[in-house]
C-alpha cells in the first residue's frame, strides 16, 4: 500500500505517453492498482476526444483530473466506468477489465456526476433505499441513517429530491455515491453548487472517507483549491492527452507557479515557461 508520503516522494516527475515517471505504470503490472488505463483512445467521428493516455492509480489514493472544457476528462471517467467504449486501449478497474467484467466490480465502486440526476419525485429516503437495494447493501436502514447523520440529510430526508436546493441535491448525490461504501469513488465536480462552507465540509468528509475506508478517489474538478487540498496527485489533460501528471507541489514547482490555478491557466493558454521546459 502506498502512503501519501510515499507517493509524494516517488513523484518527482511523471507524465503519460512515455514520459519518465515514478508512478506505477500499467506495464509494470501493479496488481494493487485501483485503476489501470493503458493507451486509451476514444474517437467520436472526426474528434479524438481521448488520445492514447495511460496512467495507474494505486489503491487508497486521491487523484485529481484537471483540464479545460473538452480536454477529455469526462470521456476518460466514462470509459473507466464502462459507460463509453474505448476505440482502442484498455481499462482495468480493481483488477477487472472494463466493460467486459463490469459485473465483477460495479458493486464495489460508485460515482457522482453532473450528467446524471436522482429521480425528482422520489424522496431522498426512497432514492437511497432503491440504490441501496441495487447495491445489495446490508442493514440498509442503518446505512441510510448513518449517511443522513454524516451528510446532514435529516432535515429533508423525506422530501422529494426535486424540491431540494442545489447544495442539498449535491449532498444527496454524494450519499448515493457512498451508499455501498465503495472501494473506488469517481467524482465529477463533487462540490459544484455548494457554498464555501458546505464545500469545505464535503471535502473533509471525502478525506475522512478515504482515510477510514482506504478508498481510491478519482475526481474531476475545476476548483484548483479543492484539488490542492484533497489530491495526492494531479493529472492534467489537454486535447485528449495527458499534459502533466505529478503531485500538486511538484507540478507547481515545475511550472514555477505558487498555485494550481496558475498552472491550469498556463496549460490552458499554451504558455510554456522556462522552468517547465528545463525539467523536461
Amino acid at each position: 500500500m502506498h502512503s501519501t508520503a510515499q507517493w509524494r516522494k516517488n513523484a518527482s516527475s511523471m507524465t503519460e505517453n512515455s514520459k519518465a515517471s515514478s508512478w506505477p505504470t500499467v506495464a509494470e503490472g501493479i496488481s494493487s492498482a485501483a485503476i489501470e488505463v493503458d493507451r486509451l483512445v476514444k474517437v467520436y467521428k472526426q474528434t479524438r476526444a481521448v488520445d492514447g493516455i495511460s496512467f495507474s492509480l494505486p489503491r487508497g489514493s486521491i487523484t485529481g483530473l484537471l483540464g479545460g472544457n473538452g480536454a477529455g476528462k469526462t470521456t476518460t471517467i466514462a470509459m473507466i466506468m464502462g459507460l463509453v467504449l474505448p476505440t482502442s486501449g484498455r481499462v482495468r478497474v480493481l483488477g477487472h477489465r472494463m466493460p467486459e467484467e463490469s459485473a465483477e466490480v460495479l458493486g464495489r465502486m460508485n460515482f457522482e456526476s453532473p450528467y446524471v440526476d436522482m429521480p425528482m419525485r422520489l424522496t431522498v429516503r426512497q432514492n437511497l433505499t432503491i440504490f441501496g437495494k441495487l447495491y445489495a447493501v446490508r442493514h440498509l436502514a442503518d446505512r441510510i441513517a448513518k449517511l443522513a447523520d454524516d451528510l446532514d440529510l435529516n432535515d429533508f430526508i423525506d422530501r422529494a429530491n426535486g424540491k431540494l436546493s442545489a447544495g442539498q441535491k449535491t449532498r444527496v448525490a454524494l450519499a448515493k455515491a457512498l451508499i455501498n461504501q465503495p472501494e473506488l469513488l469517481l467524482l465529477d465536480e463533487p462540490t459544484a453548487s455548494l457554498d464555501p462552507d458546505t464545500a469545505d465540509w464535503v471535502r473533509s468528509h471525502l478525506e475522512r472517507y478515504r482515510k477510514d475506508n482506504n478508498a481510491t478517489i478519482l475526481l474531476a474538478s475545476h476548483n484548483m483549491l479543492e484539488v490542492e487540498r484533497l489530491c495526492d496527485r494531479v493529472i492534467i489533460m489537454k486535447r485528449g492527452r495527458v499534459e502533466d501528471d505529478d503531485t500538486p507541489d511538484a507540478i507547481m514547482a515545475r511550472y514555477n507557479r505558487s498555485t494550481l490555478e496558475e498552472v491550469f491557466l498556463d496549460v490552458a493558454r499554451g504558455r510554456v515557461n522556462g522552468a517547465k521546459e528545463g525539467t523536461r
Binding site: 463509453v84 467504449l85 460495479l106 436522482m118 429521480p119 425528482m120 440504490f131 441495487l134 445489495a136
Partner: protein, 272 residues
C-alpha cells in the same frame, strides 16, 4: 466474456428495487395514475356505444356481439402493455437517471424484467377498470371468454414487450429525440394486426405480412371464439412461436443498441 455472460446471476432483489422505484413514482403522482385510467375508459365508452349502435342496425354485428368491444379491450392490452413498458423506461431518461442505473450492478436483463413487471402493473391499473365498465355499460364480460382469454393475453403481452424492448433500445441509442417512436410504432402495426376486421379483407400480399405478426392470430382467434364459438389452439400456438422469436430478437437488438450507445457516448448525453 460474451455479452450474454453478463446476464448470468439474475438478482430478484435488484429487480424488486426497480419495481419499487416505479411504484414510488406512480404513487407520488396522481396525474400519472389518472392517465392510466383515463384513456382506456374513454376508449371503451366510445367504441362500446358505437357497437351498440351498429348492433341495432346490422344483423352481422347483432350476431357477433362483442367483437368490437372485445377488439378494443385486446388492442388496449397490446398498446398499454407496450406503453407501460416504454414509459417506465422513458421515466429514467426524463429523470436523467439512466447513468446511475447503468453504473450500478443492475444488469440489462434485470432492468428489462423490472420493466415487464411494471407494464403488467400499469396494465392492471388501466385495463381492469375498463373491463368493469364494459360489463356495466355494455354487458360484455371479457372474463367470460375463460381460458382463451389467458392465451390471448399472454400472446399480446409478449408482443408488447418485444416492441417495448426494441423501442427502448432505439431511445437508448438515439436519445429522447426518438421518443415519438414509443408512442407511434404500435399504431404502425395496427392495420396489419387486423384488430377490427378479418385478415381476409387484406390484399393477398399484405396477408402474408399480417400473418407474421402475433397479434393477428389473437384477433382472428377472438373473432373465431365470439362468432363461431371455436377456440383456435393452432392460432395461439403459432402466435406463441413467433412471439418467442420476437422476444429473443428484440433482446438481441436491445443489447446491440446498448453497445452502440456505449460506443457513441449516448449514455452520457441522453438528450436529443
Amino acid at each position: 466474456m460474451s455479452e450474454l455472460a453478463l446476464h448470468r446471476g439474475i438478482s430478484v432483489q435488484r429487480i424488486g428495487a426497480m419495481i419499487l422505484r416505479y411504484w414510488y413514482l406512480l404513487m407520488s403522482s396522481w396525474p400519472r395514475l389518472l392517465e392510466l385510467l383515463y384513456w382506456p375508459a374513454l376508449q371503451i365508452i366510445t367504441w362500446g356505444f358505437l357497437q351498440l349502435y351498429i348492433a341495432q342496425n346490422a344483423n352481422f354485428f347483432a350476431r357477433a356481439g362483442g367483437t368490437l368491444i372485445g377488439a378494443v379491450i385486446l388492442w388496449d392490452i397490446l398498446f398499454r402493455g407496450q406503453l407501460g413498458f416504454s414509459i417506465s423506461f422513458l421515466e429514467e431518461m426524463w429523470a436523467r437517471n439512466l447513468g446511475n442505473l447503468m453504473m450500478s450492478p443492475l444488469r440489462p436483463i434485470e432492468f428489462l424484467l423490472s420493466l415487464m413487471a411494471m407494464s403488467l402493473i400499469r396494465l392492471a391499473i388501466g385495463v381492469i377498470p375498463m373491463t368493469l365498465l364494459a360489463i356495466a355499460f355494455f354487458h360484455f364480460n371479457v372474463y367470460s371468454l375463460g381460458l382463451p382469454l389467458i392465451a390471448f393475453f399472454c400472446n399480446l403481452i409478449f408482443t408488447s414487450w418485444s416492441v417495448g424492448i426494441f423501442v427502448s433500445g432505439l431511445v437508448l441509442r438515439n436519445g429522447l429525440g426518438a421518443e415519438s417512436i414509443v408512442w407511434t410504432l404500435m399504431f404502425g402495426i395496427m392495420p396489419l394486426a387486423c384488430v377490427y376486421y378479418p385478415v381476409s379483407v387484406l390484399p393477398h400480399w399484405l396477408q402474408a405480412i399480417a400473418w407474421s405478426l402475433p397479434p393477428t392470430y389473437v384477433f382472428e382467434g377472438m373473432r373465431a371464439l365470439l362468432i363461431e364459438n371455436t377456440f383456435r389452439t393452432d392460432l395461439m400456438l403459432d402466435a406463441l412461436a413467433i412471439n418467442a422469436g420476437l422476444l429473443l430478437a428484440s433482446f438481441g437488438a436491445f443489447l446491440a443498441l446498448l453497445r452502440s450507445a456505449r460506443k457513441h457516448g449516448s449514455l452520457l448525453s441522453g438528450g436529443e
